[in-house]
Symmetry: C2
Subunit: 246 residues, 2 copies
C-alpha cells in the first residue's frame, strides 16, 4: 500500500473549509454542489473539501483544495478541529457519490476543519474539479449538507465566535473608518445575538483600541455618525481578558 499511497491522495485524511463571508446582507457560507448526475435528490451541497496528498502539509492541503473547487486562493485558513466519527462518510447517499469518484470509497476518513472570514465581494467563487457550482449561501439558508458538514459548519462558527470574543477579529471586514452602528452590526451578525445599543456603547467606551476620529460620516440622509478606527497598537497595549492576571 505505502508505495502507491505515497504518490497520491491519502485515503484516510481530508480537509474541509468553512469560509464565512460578511457583508451588508449578513453572514454567508461558501458551499459547493458536487457533480453527481445519478443522484439528484438533494444533500449534494457540501463544504469545499477533499483528501490530502501524501506530500503536502495540512494547511497547504486546505488551500489547494479550496482553490481546486472554488478558485478562491490565498486565504488565511485557520485550523479549528478534527472530525472522526467512524460513520461520518457511511451514509448511503454519500457512499454512492464516493464510489463514483474515489479509489477506496469505503475507507475511514478523518477530516481536519479550517475556517476563514472574508468579504464576499472580494472573492467571487467559480466551480471546478468535482464541483458543478460554488456559491455564497446565506447562513440561514444553508440546506442539509453531505457527510457531517452541518456539524463541521456549526463547529467552525463556534470557533469563530470564540475567537471573536477574545481577539479583534473582523475589523478588516469594516471600512478603515467605521461607525459604531457598523461595528455593532458585525458583532450581532457573526455572534447571532441582538445587542442592546446602550450596553454596546458603554462597553465600547472602555476599549482603547477603538479610536474616535475627528470626523463624521458624509453624504448620508440621516444625521451623520461619528467615525472610529481600530488601533492595533492600542490593542496590543490594552489587552487583558478575564483571567489574564499578569
Amino acid at each position: 500500500m505505502s508505495e502507491s499511497q505515497n504518490l497520491g491522495l491519502n485515503p484516510n485524511v481530508s480537509v474541509d473549509c468553512v469560509v464565512f463571508g460578511f457583508d451588508k446582507a449578513g453572514l454567508k457560507v461558501l458551499l459547493i454542489e458536487r457533480d453527481n448526475p445519478d443522484n439528484t435528490e438533494g444533500k449534494n451541497y457540501q463544504l469545499p473539501g477533499d483528501l490530502i496528498r501524501n506530500d503536502e502539509d495540512l494547511d497547504e492541503a486546505a488551500n489547494r483544495v479550496l482553490k481546486e473547487l472554488t478558485n478562491i486562493d490565498n486565504l488565511f485558513l485557520q485550523q479549528f478541529a478534527a472530525f472522526g466519527n467512524p460513520l461520518r462518510v457511511k451514509r448511503e447517499n454519500d457512499l454512492e457519490w464516493l464510489r463514483s469518484i474515489r479509489k477506496d470509497p469505503d475507507a475511514r476518513v478523518v477530516t481536519i476543519g479550517y475556517y476563514a472570514l472574508i468579504k464576499p465581494e472580494d472573492f467571487a467563487p467559480s466551480a471546478s474539479s468535482f464541483a458543478r457550482k460554488a456559491e455564497w449561501v446565506r447562513y440561514e439558508d444553508v440546506p442539509e449538507l453531505a457527510f457531517d458538514h452541518n456539524l463541521i459548519l456549526e463547529s467552525g462558527l463556534a470557533s469563530l465566535k470564540q475567537k471573536m470574543r477574545s481577539e479583534p477579529v473582523g475589523f478588516e471586514l469594516l471600512p478603515a473608518k467605521f461607525t459604531l452602528r457598523q461595528l455593532q452590526n458585525l458583532y450581532e451578525t457573526v455572534m447571532g445575538v441582538e445587542i442592546d445599543k446602550r450596553n454596546f456603547r458603554r462597553k465600547v467606551q472602555g476599549m482603547k483600541f477603538l479610536v474616535a476620529l475627528d470626523e463624521k460620516q458624509k453624504g448620508v440622509a440621516h444625521k451623520p455618525a461619528q467615525l472610529y478606527r481600530f488601533s492595533n497598537n492600542n490593542y496590543k497595549d490594552s489587552f487583558s481578558a478575564t483571567f489574564d492576571f499578569a
Copy 2:
C-alpha cells in the same frame, strides 16, 4: 486495503496525549519511554500516542491509547490540534522503531493532539503495551522527544494557556478553599510568568467568582491567610471577555 483496514488500526491517523500535571513541585508532563532494545541512543521518550482503530471515534481513541500505555483512565481529554507535516514520522531513529512495531511503518501519519490538566498525585502511571516506562517529568526537564512530540507538547501548552486566559481552568487542582498565594502560584506555574503580587490582588478584587470566605488558614507557621472559594454561579453571571459586547 479497505477490508483488512476496517478490522484493525488505521495506518494514517493517530492520537497523541499531552497530560499536564500541576502540584507543589510545579508543572509536569506525562511521558513514556518506548520499548526499543536496539536503539538506546536517546530520543526514546515520547508522548503517549498510537494509531486509531477504524471503528472508534477520536476521543475514544485518545482515552484508549492513554490507558493502554500508562494505565491512566477517565480523563477529560481536550482535542486541540491536528499535526500533519509529511515528514513528521520520517526521522531515521523513529522509522527504525516503527519498523519494529507497525505493519506499514512508511505510511504518512497525521496525528490529533489532546491535552488534559490533572493532579499528578491522583494518577500514578504504570507502563504497558509498547511503553517500558510511564512517568511524570518536570516540564523544565523534558528531553528531546520522538517524532514532532516537542512541537505537540508546546502547542498543547499554548492551548492550555489560551484557555486559562479566558475560562476558569485549574480551580479543581486547588483545594476547595484556597489562598490567593495558591491561586497565584497555579497561574504563574502554568502560564510560565511571574505576576506582580499587587497587580494580581488588584485584578482578583474585580472577580466576583472568587468569593472571600469568613475563614483563614489553620495550622500554618506564618500569619494565616484569608481563604477563598471559586463560585461557578458567580462565574456564569459575571463572565465577559474583552470583546464580549453583549
